[in-house]
Every structure is written in C-alpha cells, then in structure tokens.
Symmetry: C2
Subunit: 314 residues, 2 copies
C-alpha cells in the first residue's frame, strides 16, 4: 500500500509544513520533506538543532507566522504529554493553525489520546492524522519510513505530499484516529520484547563462551533473528551504549502497552518481563543509555564479561 495509492482524498495536498521536533527522527523527516520540494519551518527547544535545520530549509519565521501560512504541522515529539503541549499548551498549535490545516502526529501515544486529540482539534476545524512511524533515523533521512496511519480522507488528503516525502509505505488503517496508534502499540510490544531478548541472548551466549561476533554472524541467518536483533546486536558486540534510542523510550512505550492491556483485562506476561528489565535498567541509572544497556543487568548479576568498546566517537 504506497502513499501514492491513497484514494478517496478530497483536500488539496499541502506544500507548507511546520515541523516540531528536530531530534534524529525529526531532522531526518525534515530533510526528506525539503528534498521533496516542500517548505518546512522547523522548531526545537534545542537551538543548535533548530539553527542547523533552518540554515538548510532557508526559512526563519516565528511559530506564529509559520502557522499562519502552513497547510499542516508534523509533530515528531517524544510522547503524549509533549504532543498535548504542542497542540494545546506552550506552542498552542490548535489556536495558531488555520482551519483546514492538518496535524500529523508521529509520537507513540495511547490510542485513546489520539482519539481525544482528533476530537479537540475537530472542534476548531483542524484535521488530525494519527500517524506513528517506524524505521529509525536512517530511514527517516531517506524518506523510507513506514507510517501506521488512520484518519479522515480529508486529513489524508491534506497530508499527502508530506506522507509521500517521509515514507516508503503508508498503511491506511482506518477513517478516524485510534487504529494507527493501536497498531503502533502492537509493534512496540514486539520491538521492546525483541530488544530485551537480544540482550538476554547475548548474555546467555557469552556465559557459555560463545563469541559476540560469532553470535552476530550466525543468528541473522537463523530462525531466531529479528529486525531488532540485527539492528541492536552490533551495538552490544561493539560495546556501544550511546543513546541511539534510549532505555527510557521503552520504559514509556511498553508502559503504554501494559496500561492499554490492563484496560482490556489482558495479561501480557512476556511484555511485562521485558518492561521490568527496562525499568530496572532505568532505576540503575541506565535510562539515558542506549536501550541495549539492559544487557548490563545480566552482566552485573552473573559476572559475565561484555565486549569492550570498539567504535569511533564522531
């Protein structure tokens, strides 16, 4: 299902966007939007990131001026609180955007929150696309993300040019907010378990005297592999605990998963075991390290030695 195949759209696709959040994902998305010829006003509390992006974008407008012209806003913030703040709090996009503009919400949030945001914006005539993303910063910069989207045909239509620029694949999962975030939570359940499993597998192999590089050679050719194993395993083999994606992200995302499940009276014991590992890592001061730092819990408890650092700082 490619973004080009979107049908039933009724709003002219927008060409001017406000982009909130210029971390690794947001920055990559911004560059993909610029490459597609869209006008993008970028904003981030990190002034260095904001200035760097603005130099590339060639736009240096205030949030108020940018919103007055924009066809939509793309939110690449961390969580529901930041999304709410952007829309109804400090940045106040809900009052700054024009009626008919679209908010493309990319953070991983609870589906109920997405439904709530859509309704609150609708009362101001603003469209909302529930559009969580997957793929990592490298794919963001190439415009090759996967988007798990749901929203009205109007919202899809207004966002179309931006979605085309950001994503290789746009899944259209429903005609209102909710299904996009629900699917993302399914993905995060798997992703979080797989990261914890990757750490556990390395600890288990190392404890048996298996070499970390051999593990990285063999497992991707076997039935035990996963996207996360192939993506995160090299960090463990290289002793790289920089926060490419931090432990605390999965404290949050698996927290959303288990909270949502509680609401459905559903027990998720494997996800709960993985969440407990991320929480314990965070309590042990590892929350801002890369998520594979959960492997350090195993090493500390058992005395297993982990591979030393062997990467170049850049």
């Amino acid at each position: 299902m490619s973004a080009n195949a979107l049908s039933g759209t009724t709003a002219a696709p927008g060409r001017q966007f406000v982009l909130l959040g210029l971390g690794a994902m947001g920055y990559g998305i911004g560059r993909s939007l610029l490459r597609a010829g869209l006008a993008v006003d970028g904003f981030d509390l990190n002034r260095d990131a904001q200035n760097r992006f603005r130099a590339e974008a060639g736009l240096d407008r205030t949030l108020e001026d940018a919103c007055g012209e924009a066809d939509g806003a793309i939110l690449v913030v961390v969580n529901a609180a930041q999304t709410e703040d952007a829309l109804f709090g400090a940045q106040g996009l809900a009052d700054r955007l024009r009626p008919g503009a679209v908010v493309v919400s990319c953070a991983t949030i609870d589906a109920q929150k997405a439904i709530e945001f859509e309704a609150r914006l609708a009362s101001k005539g603003i469209l909302y696309l529930d559009a969580p993303i997957s793929g990592g910063s490298a794919r963001a910069a190439k415009g090759q993300l996967t988007i798990m989207a749901s929203g009205t045909p109007h919202a899809f239509g207004r966002a179309e040019a931006a979605l085309d620029a950001m994503a290789e694949t746009v899944f259209r999962l429903g005609d209102c907010a909710g299904p996009g975030s629900a699917m993302k939570s399914v993905n995060q359940l798997l992703a979080g378990i797989h990261i914890a499993a990757t750490a556990e597998a390395f600890a288990f192999g190392l404890a048996q005297g298996v070499d970390a590089d051999q593990i990285m050679q063999v497992i991707p050719r076997c039935a035990g592999s996963s996207w996360m194993f192939e993506n995160r395993g090299p960090y463990i083999a290289d002793g790289d605990y920089r926060p490419h994606s931090a432990v605390d992200i999965f404290v949050k995302d698996l927290g959303i998963v288990t909270d949502t499940a509680k609401g459905a009276a559903l027990d998720l014991p494997v996800a709960a075991a993985a969440l407990a590992r991320f929480k314990e890592a965070s309590l042990n001061g590892l929350g801002r390290e890369g998520d594979v730092a959960v492997v350090k819990l195993y090493a500390q408890a058992s005395g297993v030695g982990l591979p030393p650092k062997r990467y170049e700082e850049n």
Copy 2:
C-alpha cells in the same frame, strides 16, 4: 561462510549415509542428500515415512548392513534422549558404525551432552559433529538449512558432502563438540521468545480491535518484525493450529535454555516468561498443537476472539 569454504579437512568426504529420523525435517534432509547423489539408508519408527523414503532412495538394507557400509550417520531426532538411544541404546550405532565414520548430530541438545557424546564415540574411533540446524522443513527439502557446527577437522571432512547437500550455510564454530549446541541454544532462546511474543502481539492487537490480516500486512514492514513473526503469524491469522512445530518442542528447547543458564548462575526472565507460556499451554492440553497455540491462553483469559480457521486440509 559456505560449506564449500571448509578448510583444513583431512578425511575424504563420505558418500554413503545412514539417516535416522524421517519427520518433516529429516525427510527434507534425506531428499536433499539424494538429490546430491549420495546413497542414503533412511530409518524411522514411523513405517509409512520409512517406506516412502526408501522407495525414493532405492535402498532397502537393514540398519546393520547399512551401518557396515556407511561413511556416517545423520541423526535428525527430537532430543538428547533419542540421540543417546540411537547411539548407545536401541539402535546402537556406536557399535555398528565403522571406525572413522562420522555421526552428524542435528537435534537440539544441551552442549554438555554433545561434549559427552563426542567423547564416548571417540573411544570407539567414531567421529562426531555437533551440528544443530535451523531453517524449517521447507528449507530442509531445498538443501538450504543453516548448520551451527563444531567438531574436529576430521569430522568436518568426513561429513562435508552431506553438509554441502543439506545446507546453504555451514558455520564452523569450533574444533570440538559444544559450541554448535551452545549457539543453537542462543537461537532457541530467541526463537521461543519470539513465538510467544507473536502470540502476545496478536492477542493485544485483536483486543484493541485491530484486524489480524492488517497486523500481518503492517508488522513485517516495521521494526517489530522477526523471522518467527513472519513465519508463525500467518498461522494465527488463518486459525491454523496444526503442529507444523509443536508447543512441546519449545517446552523442551526453552527448558534446555533455562537449565543451562541455571548452571551459569544466570537469570533469564524474558525466556522464563515465554517458557511459562509454553508450559501452561501444554498443561492445558495444547502440547501437540502448533506452537502458536499459546495465543489460545490469551483468548481464554480475556475473551478476545481469535481468527477462525480458513485453510484447506491437505
């Protein structure tokens, strides 16, 4: 590292093999050996499977006669007890094979058992290759397995023609038995967790009203995917709980994992959570169903409806 790249081998590669175990994996391996022009005497307690294979192989010798001629024996049995029985018990290969013959042991077994089998066979002049496999029956039939092998150069040399015929990739992980099975246990830790995670993800998505077919469309394009998700997910979406690979296999394999970890004073909480699911499924009478039947535990506990059966019996 391809089987063709084996170096340092000193024994002439064998062309005649005894094959014990003609289940889905063994049968596929047998066909790949025949296609490569090797002579294969197949044996299985299931007489239908044995007769079917013998008709293809064009050999109908007794175990005693076959072993007297064979360059080696390939054991595609279920566990360590069956391997031990084949070597030193009922089938007594240790007394029937000629000195210099090689035993290629493919079952998932504890690394300590592999080391023990190698030593006991060495006292009779028989070579042993610790050679667990990964890839499933479809790849077995195409000669495209991955083999996690370790053993002496002599053992590799004698087994070379068979390994070439069975596998797309032969990893050579050490010069004695043990490392092959240790790596397989790392793979099984991941594989078992990923199957349980797949079941949990479907239950979680279905509980939120997400469609099973949409889950199968979206997740393989996202960072939550795994080999097992892509392989087993369609069974859940199709309501197919036939034992392509049974729940009890992972009661066994994750049991090997947690027992081995106990010996290393290593806690594996995520693997333990997955093992608990497989054990509970087995206690609930699902042990001989396909391993994705663990999803039924979630459905029973929460009332979530699972996709109905929609496959053709063959």
